[in-house]
């Protein structure tokens, strides 16, 4: 399944199954993802895209099979190591998952505070990331006062602020108009070019064909296609 170069895969899945109350959500998934890959996970609603992402950051555990993230086998990960595993990821959700009672600054700072960074560093880093996503002036705003596109940019800023190895995006443009979606996608593309591994679950064909990457297709929990895509 490995494509292209001989780089060490940062993510490996071997014969992974996920059942919910005996109903199969994923079935016999084997997959390797290399560092700095841009992987699109596609498929219809209910195909298993979100479940696949959840297995990676241990939002769910596999019913069977092995998931290995950056050399750590999630089958044997001790509970106290789960937060450290999650710091390898920056996660972007369709519904943003920002804390509505905290300001934009506080939402972003939380990631760095949780990782134990000093206040001065936190302030500096938050401002620099907000500058990248073009929302520096919104640092004192509460998320509900922002537009959907702005909230998703904040969510992206939160995902990248801890310099994660992997960015997971679950339908990040699903709730956005085409203009906002384009901005989001451009940002992801930029972080990819800066060296991040991006895994993006989407069913938007427009996005998929705008980048050099790789696309897998899920159908009813099974991996039915895995191939490279060329920039349109």
């Amino acid at each position: 399944m490995t494509h292209g170069s001989r780089k060490t895969p940062i993510i490996r899945m071997y014969h992974v199954y996920k059942l919910y109350d005996s109903k199969s959500a994923l079935s016999d998934i084997s997959l390797e993802i290399e560092e700095n890959e841009f992987l699109f996970v596609t498929g219809a609603s209910g195909a298993g895209k979100t479940t696949l992402l959840k297995l990676l950051y241990f939002g769910e555990s596999a019913t069977n099979g092995q998931v290995i993230i950056d050399g750590v086998n999630l089958l044997r990960i001790p509970k106290h190591q789960i937060p450290f595993l999650r710091r390898k990821f920056g996660i972007i959700f369709q519904d943003y998952k920002l804390i509505p009672s905290k300001t934009v600054f506080e939402n972003l700072a939380l990631v760095l505070e949780a990782a134990g960074h000093k206040r001065k560093f936190v302030e500096k880093k938050v401002k620099s990331v907000l500058r990248i996503v073009g929302l520096e002036e919104k640092q004192g705003a509460l998320p509900p006062s922002l537009s959907g596109g702005e909230q998703q940019r904040i969510a992206i800023a939160r995902a990248v602020i801890g310099d994660p190895k992997i960015i997971l995006a679950d339908e990040p443009t699903g709730n956005l108009d085409s203009g906002s979606a384009e901005i989001i996608f451009d940002l992801l593309n930029r972080f990819h070019k800066d060296g991040s591994t991006i895994i993006l679950a989407t069913h938007d064909p427009e996005l998929i064909h705008s980048i050099n990457g790789r696309k897998i297709v899920l159908d009813k929990g099974q991996l039915i296609s895995d191939h490279k895509i060329k920039e349109a």
């Binding site: 937060p83 905290k102 949780a114 990782a115």
Partner: protein, 292 residues
Amino acid sequence: MIRHFEKAVADIAANTFLNSITVITIAFSILIVSAFGLLMLNMSDFLNIWKSGIRVMVYLKENCNEQNRLKLEKAIRSVPGVSDLKWISKTEGLSRLKEQMKNQPSFLADLKDNPLPDAFEISLDPSHQHPDPISRIAAIVQKMERVDEVEYGQAWLGRFAGIIGLLQMAGYAFGGLFFMAGVFIVANTIRLVLYSKRDEIEIMRLIGATDGFISAPFFIQGSIQGAAGGLLGTGLLYLVFSFISLKVKGYEIVGPVSIRFFSPEILFGIIGSGVLAGLMGCYFSLRQFLKY
């Protein structure tokens, strides 16, 4: 740590009503238990003062001559626990009685003869100033020749020690009960806060926050609730104590009655137990909530 403390204070400020109820309930629990403790402390003090003044009176039979008296004195002195012995002749006994009853002179005015017996007054070692050793010494002396009666306020002593023992047990039971109530109340408050923040906590976990990072503000919040409850409870107790100590001033029982409040060490312990209840309450709520 400062961040966690700020967050805890912000959470308390955001849920003032809930936190106030918690603090007041803890305060009342601590007030009741501490009141028991204070009562026991002062009763023990009183018992100790009383015990230190305990004298065992040995009344002699009639016709005890000088030689027999000296023999008896020697025998009593040899009993373990006896520290001193004083001879009180019937004449001295009567003059003592007259002195004690100087306000009611009519009681003794018509006495033709001295009805009192000769007596010894036994003082005891501090280690023997407890109900059991005293009754043991009294029993030994009672069996001696020429001894008519031994008296030491046995009924009083036993009853008083019994009451203190009972209060002590009740104090422990109440203490345990109210401590558990404190833990339960804090646990419920924290559970409500956790429930209202479940989305926030879920997001924190997704961004890689450890359970320690998530829990710290709640533990601080629980500690603040416990400490505030402890301070309020002991503060209220001090008010009640001040009022009572003003009332009992001037009373005399064995000597002048003086009551005391807890020492700073004990107060620290009481407030510490409030903090411990707060921490335990948090622990139980968080343990349930933060399961992976």
